[in-house]
Amino acid sequence: MHIPDGILPASACVGGYAATGVATWLSLRRISRRGDAELGIPRASVMAAVFFVASWIHIPVFPVSTHLVLNGLMGVVLGAYAFPAILVGLFFQAVMFQHGGLTTLGVNAVIMGIPALMAGCAFRILTDRWPGTRMTTVWGFFCGASSIAVSVLMLTAVLVVFFGGDIDPSTEEDVVDVLFLSHVPLMLIEGVITASMVRFLRKVHPEMLDGGR
């Protein structure tokens, strides 16, 4: 789901970097206001590494296999740190595997990171209002699936804005549908995995779900 180098025009790349700069600045400001930056950095780096490695696990979805993104879970666990952690993860994916790209790093960070922040907030609000094990699991599914959905929407929006003019409208609609539908299995998988992860963490290490706080 990451946009590789060369696809987007310069304006999109620069715009992506600008948006990422703002989001990073806001995240870091929120972090330093909380006053636990000293403790948060090692934690965020270790967790970013775990999420990075988790993306190596391939899930077979007939007939292809997909890999996990888990940005919703990152938002739930890391809170404000999710954005910088995703940015760093994408950077290493770009320089290690050319998965995503360097010029498109900013755009990709926004596509992955903003839904993560949203999922973190949503999870905190929802579990505050409707707590309980079963509901928490439901919220886990919701945050996992919806953050992928939002990412796909943002991805589609970016592609349509920069290429839409030159595709005839009916084809464009088809392409958008295909793009969205092809990500539905991933949404469900991410939802299920995030849900069972949230349940697991609640049982084993509940304070890990307080990232959004």
């Binding site: 590789p4 180098d5 060369g6 696809i7 025009p9 310069a10 790349c13 620069v14 990073t24 600045w25 870091l28 972090i31 330093s32 000293e38 950095i41 090692p42 934690r43 965020a44 780096s45 270790v46 967790m47 970013a48 590494a49 775990v50 990075f52 490695v53 988790a54 190596w56 696990i57 077979p60 996990l68 888990l70 666990v77 910088p84 952690a85 760093v88 950077f91 290493f92 320089v95 595997f97 050319q98 998965h99 790209g101 360097l102 010029t103 290429f163 030159d166 595709i167 005839d168 084809t171 392409v175 998988i189 299920v192 995995i193 069972s196 992860m197 697991f200 963490l201 084993v204 890990m208």
Partner: protein
């Protein structure tokens, strides 16, 4: 899966000798310009990127390895793009219309992709990750982000080893991770969940270990030498080349 970014950082070449700050900045500006180029100018830029790569003495196999992953993406694009993009039909095969703009866009995109990847591989493959990140820091990346990058890089290897160990353990007890179905998803969640919990617990120790060595985020860091004249010359060369190419492209587009 190889994660060895430092593998060829010890080689000796003009590019290796180029100060990482000016190198990364210069090549990045050039790469950004490439996203704006097309036609002959793009071909020239691609050739220039290849020359830079050749100067770095990185083995070609390293580049090929890097391009393999996104190659799949481009294969998909290659199938799709020429048929849906643009409106000037080139060849009509049954219900499918091969369009000129689509084909052109595909070619352009592939060339841009290739030259940017070549530049990226050269920029980051010719110094150790630590030095690259330090360079990024002096180029204005916030200190906290730079620390995050360094520590993450280190723990990617540690966590990767844990994942391999857990995979072996799962296999030893008769489960194949290639399976599909709800149970497979449950096992994978449990597996990632335990990596997360271990990571969390590890992070408490890492924090302690850092405090024991007087860490404060973005605290005092190594005073680095200044890039020399040649380093700056390289940077200026890149910027001029990038600007010239973009201007030429704009003039072409205008005319």
């Amino acid at each position: 899966m190889t994660t060895e970014l430092d593998r060829f950082s010890h080689l000796d070449s003009v590019i290796h000798g180029w100060d990482p700050r000016t190198r990364i900045a210069g090549l990045f500006v050039f790469a950004l310009a490439i996203t704006r180029l097309s036609g002959t100018l793009l071909a020239v830029a691609l050739a220039a990127s290849m020359v830079v790569f050749a100067l770095s003495r990185l083995p070609a196999s390293y580049l090929v390895e890097r391009v393999r992953w996104p190659g799949i993406f481009f294969a998909a694009l290659a199938v799709l793009m020429p048929f849906i993009y643009g409106d000037r039909p080139l060849v009509v095969v049954g219900p499918l219309v091969l369009r000129e703009e689509g084909l052109q866009l595909l070619l352009t995109t592939a060339c841009r992709f290739l030259s940017i990847v070549v530049l990226g591989v050269t920029a980051f493959g010719t110094s150790r990750v630590t030095d690259s990140v330090r360079a990024l820091r002096s180029l204005g990346v916030p200190a906290i982000l730079a620390d995050l990058m360094l520590f993450t890089y280190r723990f990617i290897h540690e966590t990767g080893r844990e994942l391999r160990g857990t995979r072996t353990a799962v296999k030893l007890r008769g489960f194949s991770l290639r399976k599909t179905g709800p149970r497979a998803l449950r096992v994978i969640s449990a597996l990632i969940g335990s990596l997360l919990v271990r990571g969390w617990e590890r992070s408490e120790e890492v924090m302690l270990a850092m405090r024991l060595r007087a860490y404060s985020p973005g605290g005092s860091r190594r005073a680095e030498g200044k890039p020399n004249l040649a380093d700056f010359a390289g940077l200026v060369l890149c910027v001029i080349a990038a600007a010239a190419a973009v201007l030429a492209e704009l003039r072409q587009g205008g005319g």
